[in-house]
Symmetry: C2
Subunit: 106 residues, 2 copies
DNA sequence: TTTAGTAGTTTCCTATAGGAAACTACTTTC
DNA sequence: GAAAGTAGTTTCCTATAGGAAACTACTAAA
């Protein structure tokens, strides 16, 4: 059960799963891409959470030599080990949403 | 990705996964059992989180006709649909912990 | 030279999550 | 009748998570 603590210490917060999920399906995205794709997140949180994820080697950050400067975020090989977990979370969430919906129809 | 929001709205907080994991492996436990098994949790949080989980039909609460009164908490059938998710989370956490350990040995 | 795009950082604020400790209430045992 | 066990609730407090808005800094296009 301590393992759950370890996992959640990296994945806690409102946005981590979102960011990871978006990067897993989108492969590489810029800062603005993420800001647009992740509904409701602001620049401060996105920046901070990306730093967290980068520190833990779940996400890589590459500054591109372009004008204007662009930055590419992508999921690392290590980050990909979370794919099935995030898939299951999303699947469960979908099923839950459906069950609430059918409940409300009664 | 909205599905992740839905899932996390039920599972957010420091203790939900712990409680669910403990109930999945322990089957039925009393309030004091949970308090003893979940390291660090206090009565207030345990009580509040159990109420949340019960409201969402993930955990069932049964008052037993004993003296002194005892209450049995157990995972519901619906709650069991989270088993594989929690398993994977724990597995991932274990692997992560091992990788940090071997990193520190270098 | 002003506008718009890139990628953030900083400041200020508030809501809430969560902890510690004390308390209720009831019963049985010592 | 005091202590210890059941299962919580209540109060008080603080740390932090997270949001809004303004700001930096650089470049290209208009």
């Amino acid at each position: 059960m301590q393992a759950i603590n370890d996992a959640m210490s990296l994945l806690s917060g409102k946005w981590k799963f979102h960011i990871l999920g978006t990067l897993i399906e989108g492969n590489t995205l810029g800062f603005m891409d993420l800001l647009r794709e992740i509904d409701g997140i602001g620049t401060k949180m996105l920046s901070k959470e990306l730093q967290d994820l980068e520190m833990n080697n779940l996400v890589s950050r590459t500054v591109m030599n372009t004008k204007p400067i662009t930055v590419e975020y992508s999921i690392t090989e290590y980050g990909k080990t979370l794919s099935s977990l995030i898939d299951e979370l999303a699947k469960w969430g979908t099923a839950y949403r459906k069950s609430v919906y059918s409940e409300n129809k009664k």
